[in-house]
Symmetry: C2
Subunit: 306 residues, 2 copies
């Protein structure tokens, strides 16, 4: 065991961050229930999961005559859940085998939990409003319940005022280039939206605007003060022809989404939603540099942790 | 896709069971927070997990120079968490590769969620009291909030009265043989405890009574009306010599618990706790035969499910 590994469990720093994370969960869950959402169970293993076409590796194992993958996000399952329930949320543990290059960003974990939410029939604007109210509620709740913890971190939490500023992807990109998120995150004083990502930057399930080909009805929420990305979300593709078209554009193997595509053929509801990382939110709320400090058992890219 | 697989999502049956499960989670989480517990994050992957020395297969995958296993239960991590916090709980998704023989019991899933809880310095009696109050609270909450759902299932929920009856393992075994749990579960009208399991029936981490070698300070809670096991728990071994002794008795490879044993050498607190399955509780509350009906995405032994 590395020196300090045992001792970190008695540090006030870790204890306070875990208390704040627990408080964030409480505020999220109760707020959503009070607003008509049903909590569903996480899916940890499935033959089909979010492809995440960036550099994340695949984790999986054989079982009887098939193969399970570990959930990278519950997007496909959230869409199917809406066949049963109109408004769902889940605290969804995700496993993403990130490359070792991401070990020191302070923002990446191989295992993390996101609050994942989806609403049948919703537009992007509906979701922006839900997020703004939810985030404001959570920050108020933490400010009220975690006074000692925030004092410990010497953190003054400013409660942002909805509606948050919206910045179009192509404006941000034209002005700052690829590092726009980082520049803007440092510049801004409260959370803000990046909207309208180009379709080749995102997954197949984010819905292309019918009136603006190549532009998605999606969004990221970015924390201020350099804390970077808070959440990703958007309206979803639900028409099977469009889903297959987007999968082909991204050169995905349709066979890997066989069951999902059968559901789409029979009919998925239109929807919109998002996923917001609990560890990144805790990092922002506590003002921490290293996301590791928000976890009892951090799993860092490139190493095996308990 | 099998016939009916799409249609089941529009059935009232599934929707109502999921609503009840959501309500159970709400009641558990809020009750525990109000009683001084901190919610911790699930651990999905770790190099070390509960060995579960019965017939459950191992799920895992390689990552860089090591190997991750999927969590079968968070027992080892719960004990370590108590170095930071005195009272913890977690909604912990577990993956257990059960053999196909368990496919039709109506009670077994390959993936399920348990409320897992641990208290530093607690005795078994402390935990019996916590469980009795928690279960009573949850049933009252469901009765109050899920009237429509219980009506749909034509289910009259009787609120049990603590303290629940305690039956010693050897009494039950001598009277009914190996099937004592099933017989007693059918016979009883409210939940009851089986206590004092023999040490070769259980895992290494359940604490042997110092004054009664071979007998554990552990317990199962059993539902009435034939619904069977609700939870398992007990006091824990925390002395490294005793842990190693128990591991050797069970012919476990110490190398597979290398990091855990290093924590034990440096010092783990004494503790007691339990894990209670949400799907089995939902099955009991709704009076369902098949645990599959409590899941949007059931994973059954011997097959690959979405």
């Amino acid at each position: 065991m590395k020196k300090g590994c045992y001792d970190r469990y008695s540090e006030e720093r870790l204890k306070n961050a875990i208390n704040v994370k627990s408080c964030i969960r409480e505020a999220m869950g109760n707020y959503l229930r009070n607003n008509g959402f049903t909590e569903i169970s996480p899916v940890i293993i499935s033959p089909e999961t979010d492809p995440l076409h960036h550099s994340t590796g695949k984790a999986g194992f054989e079982y009887y005559k098939g193969r399970y993958q570990l959930t990278k996000s519950m997007i496909l399952h959230k869409q199917i859940s809406l066949l049963a329930l109109d408004k769902v949320f889940v605290f969804s543990p995700n496993v993403r085998l990130e490359p070792v290059e991401l070990a020191d960003t302070g923002k990446h974990l191989v295992e993390f939990t996101q609050l994942d939410l989806e609403v049948a029939g919703a537009t992007r604007d509906d979701i922006l409003t839900i997020v703004e109210e939810l985030v404001t509620h959570v920050l108020n709740h933490v400010k009220d319940k975690c006074k000692e913890e925030l004092d410990y971190f010497d953190r003054e939490l400013n409660i942002p005022k909805p509606p948050f500023e919206k910045i179009k992807y192509h404006h941000a990109y034209n002005k700052y280039g690829r590092i726009f998120e980082e520049v803007l995150s440092h510049e801004k004083q409260q959370p803000f939206w990046i909207i309208d990502f180009p379709s080749d930057e995102r997954e197949f399930y984010d819905r292309e605007d019918p009136s603006r080909p190549g532009i998605l009805m999606d969004m990221d929420l970015i924390y201020p003060e350099g804390f970077g990305e808070a959440l990703s979300g958007g309206e979803r593709e639900f028409d099977p022809k469009r889903i297959v078209g987007r999968m082909n554009e991204q050169e995905l193997e349709l066979e890997e989404f066989k069951l999902y595509l059968e559901f789409a053929e029979k009919g998925l509801p239109s929807s919109a939603g998002f996923g917001i990382g609990l560890e990144r939110m805790t990092r922002f709320v506590c003002g921490l540099n290293d996301i590791k400090d928000t976890c009892l058992f951090p799993k860092m890219p490139g190493t095996i942790g308990l």
